[in-house]
């Protein structure tokens, strides 16, 4: 597509999950550039890069269990950030715990999705994310 398509930031420490997510998006013909962060610290480092002029993502997929700085803290920092709080954040995690779900929404996540074990379901999730968040939804610019 064209350059105006914003990137999607995937914050995920597990290479397998990262790879599968990327493959799922590729299968769904998602054209957005994919940015990666392998831990919470790396995710927060992006803030400086965005300030420096790098393209700001249109969507962030955030795992909760992350090395260094955990997902909920990354979520909180971003959602409290004066400039980047509007970026839609989808929590994509293996945890289906009530406490995690509740806390994530309280901190302002836009969606909470439990990673399915089953690959077909995983593909379905990737597809739904693409359809909803990238095609249907209008994200702030």
């Amino acid at each position: 597509m064209n350059d105006s398509i914003g990137p999607i930031l995937i914050v995920e420490d597990r290479p397998i999950d990262l790879d599968l997510t990327k493959r799922a998006f590729v299968r769904r013909r998602l054209l957005n550039p994919i940015l990666e962060a392998r831990d919470g610290e790396e995710a927060l480092d992006y803030i400086d890069r965005w300030d420096a002029g790098e393209p700001v993502p249109v969507l962030i997929l955030l795992d909760l269990r992350l090395p260094k700085v955990n997902g909920l803290e990354v979520l909180q920092r971003l959602k409290l950030h004066p400039k980047y709080s509007a970026i839609p954040i989808i929590v994509l995690t293996t945890s289906g715990e009530d406490a995690d779900i509740h806390e994530a929404y309280r901190l302002g996540c836009n969606s909470y999705i439990v990673k399915p074990v089953d690959f077909d379901n995983f593909m379905e999730v990737a597809s739904q994310i693409e359809i909803y968040w990238c095609a249907l939804n209008t994200a702030p610019r």
Binding site: I16, D17, T94, D98, V117, D118, F119
Partner: protein
């Protein structure tokens, strides 16, 4: 007052008029074997000292005689009314009075009575033995006793009396002698002076004579140390006022600064310490004893008249007052007015009281000990309780920590297991989809098996997470409409994509329970899942949900017409991982019913099941009210 007249008798050396005529002798006729005795008393009958003497005489005579005695008393009252003018008439009167009686013995008490008897005995009592009692041997001076007469006198030895006082009061430097100026007072003072004279060199004697009672009181109030008072008799003062000795003693004794010693036991008890006293009692006894000898046959002439010794007598209260120990009194001393000690008087009561007190104290002590024991036990118990509570708190905290750790562990393990599982499933799927042409049939079937295994494992992990979630989820009891919750769960189950036709029957009419919605929903859902699963091979699957209100709760049941189970497994099927069927027949992890039981137990309810193999099963829930 009571002794004044009596004491004065021995002084009575005054006129004795002879009775003119004593015609008929008072000789009694023989009327029986009783011995007859006449006692002639000098004074009127009410004089206390004389009464003492009479009583002593009578009791001594009665108790000392083997024969019965007939004792007569005559009170001449010869001091207040001297006999001179009517002696003759009196003799006549006595003759008439006792004319028919023969006396065996005549007693004469004190000189006037004795003189009267001696003078008239030939007329009144010829040949009758005569026994006299006089206070001083000197009273006999000048009397012609004649024959058939004997008697006793009092031995008033003032020197030995004073010696005794000096023994009891060692260090005595002066003696104050009190006496009045009446005839009697003068007589006795002269006797005392005479006897004390030899001591004048070593002891200073002061004679207070004829003082009024107030003057005596003043004089005795401020005596120098080492002084004793010797009270003789003080019946008249210099101004001519008359007193009774007892009255004098009563007034001067309480304020006296020195102990007062006396002369007769008539003064004992009114303020004198005591001394070697003329005892009226001993006097009466002594006279009567002589009489008894005469009655027994002894001739009076063969019984020598003799003195009745003075008796050392003391007032216990005065001994105490002046600090004189009883131990120092001479042997044979009579101590009167001894106030029984509190102990002696109330011994019985004291013993009872002390016993009761001791018993009471003992009981109190026991109770106190018991109370202390209980307090200690309670303290120990409280301490133990506190310790236990502390330990329980600590253990609970430790247990909570462990539980949380375990939960976290289960949670982490489950999640961490899911990630690689996703890898296995994902890549085997990608392999199958993108590279299947490079695999043969067997290879592809292996990949399918891998996928089935990962699916199974995924389910197992999900179920385990559910199971642990039941435990971890906070209970939120709420009032729940049974009918609506049952319908909601049944509707959800109906919506599950399945090609089967299942007949759901809901037979719940109203009723509410207090329960945790999530727990109850989960339990009901698992029961329905279970029923759906085990009716898979039934042609007309029918699942009925019913409810019944009981007194202490509500029972909900899910009844199916599935394969059922053997009742011997009815309880085991609620254990985690417990399966009754092979997985190829009925897939499952064996966690569903375990979740139901756990959820029900958490809200205080029960879960159980009944079945008839082949005819279906009924699974029950009991929800407490």
């Amino acid at each position: 007052m009571q002794t004044k007249g009596f004491e004065s008798i021995s002084l009575f050396g005054a006129a004795w008029l002879m009775l003119a005529l004593c015609t008929a002798p008072l000789v009694a006729q023989e009327t029986g074997t009783n011995k007859r005795i006449l006692i002639l008393f000098t004074h009127e009958s009410h004089l206390p000292a004389q009464i003492m003497v009479e009583e002593a005489m009578r009791s001594t005579l009665q108790s000392g005689s083997t024969e019965s005695l007939d004792i007569y008393s005559e009170y001449l009252d010869a001091v207040r009314t001297p006999l001179a003018d009517y002696e003759k008439n009196l003799v006549e009167q006595l003759q008439r009075k006792y004319g028919g009686k023969k006396f065996d013995l005549i007693f004469c008490v004190n000189p006037p009575a004795l003189k009267f008897a001696l003078k008239n005995r030939s007329t009144l009592f010829p040949n009758v033995p005569l026994v006299f009692l006089v206070l001083d041997q000197r009273n006999l001076d000048g009397l012609d006793l004649g024959s058939n007469v004997t008697g006793v006198w009092g031995e008033g030895n003032y020197r030995s009396n004073l010696d005794l006082a000096l023994t009891l009061q060692p260090g005595t430097k002066r003696v104050v002698v009190i006496s009045g100026v009446g005839e009697w007072d003068n007589y006795w003072r002269s006797r005392v002076k005479e006897e004390f004279r030899p001591l004048a060199e070593t002891i200073e004697f002061t004679y207070l004579t004829g003082l009024s009672i107030p003057e005596q009181k003043d004089a005795l109030k401020t005596l120098p140390p080492h002084t004793i008072v010797f009270f003789v008799s003080s019946t008249q003062d210099n101004a001519g006022s008359n007193y009774g000795n007892v009255e004098v003693l009563r007034q001067i004794s309480p304020t006296s600064s020195a102990p007062i010693y006396g002369t007769t036991d008539a003064h004992l008890g009114f303020g004198i310490v005591g001394g070697r006293l003329i005892s009226f009692d001993a006097f009466g006894v002594g006279g009567a004893q002589v009489g008894l000898r005469v009655l027994a046959g002894e001739r009076p002439d063969s019984i020598a008249p003799h003195g009745i010794a003075s008796v050392p007598m003391f007032d216990w209260r005065e001994l105490k007052r002046w600090g004189i120990s009883e131990d120092r009194l001479p042997p044979g001393s009579v101590v009167k007015f001894k106030q029984p000690s509190f102990w002696a008087e109330y011994r019985g009561r004291i013993i009872i009281a002390i016993s009761l007190l001791a018993l009471e104290s003992f009981v109190i002590a026991l109770l106190l000990i018991e109370r202390r024991r209980r307090q200690r036990a309670k303290e120990a118990l409280d301490q133990l309780n506190a310790q236990l509570e502390g330990r329980i708190t600590a253990r609970t905290a430790a247990l909570d920590a462990k539980t949380r750790e375990l939960e976290t562990f289960a949670y982490s393990v489950a999640h961490d297991l899911k990630a690689p599982l996703r890898g296995i499933d994902g890549y085997s799927r990608l392999l199958l989809e993108d590279h299947s042409e490079q695999l043969n049939e067997e290879g592809r079937s292996f990949l399918t098996t891998i996928q089935n295994s990962t699916e199974e494992m995924g389910q197992l992990i999900e179920d385990l997470l559910d199971y642990s979630r039941v435990e971890r989820r906070e209970l939120k009891p709420d009032r729940i409409e049974l009918k609506s919750i049952v319908q909601k769960v049944v509707e959800q189950e109906k919506r599950d994509p399945t090609d089967r036709k299942i007949d759901f029957v809901v037979n719940v009419n109203g009723g509410t329970v207090m329960a945790d919605v999530n727990g109850l929903t989960q339990a009901l859902k698992n029961y329905l899942d279970n029923a759906i699963k085990f009716t898979r091979n039934v042609e007309h699957a029918r699942i009925e949900v019913g409810a019944e209100e009981k007194t202490n709760g509500c029972v909900l049941w899910v009844r199916d017409n599935g394969i059922g189970f053997d009742m011997k497994y009815h309880d085991r099927i609620f254990n985690i991982f417990q399966r009754l069927n092979r997985s190829e027949d009925y897939s499952g992890t064996g966690v569903g019913l375990a979740i139901v039981r756990k959820a029900m137990e958490r809200m205080g309810g029960r879960a159980w099941a009944e079945s008839d193999p082949g005819k279906g099963a009924t699974f029950y829930l009991e929800i407490p009210k």
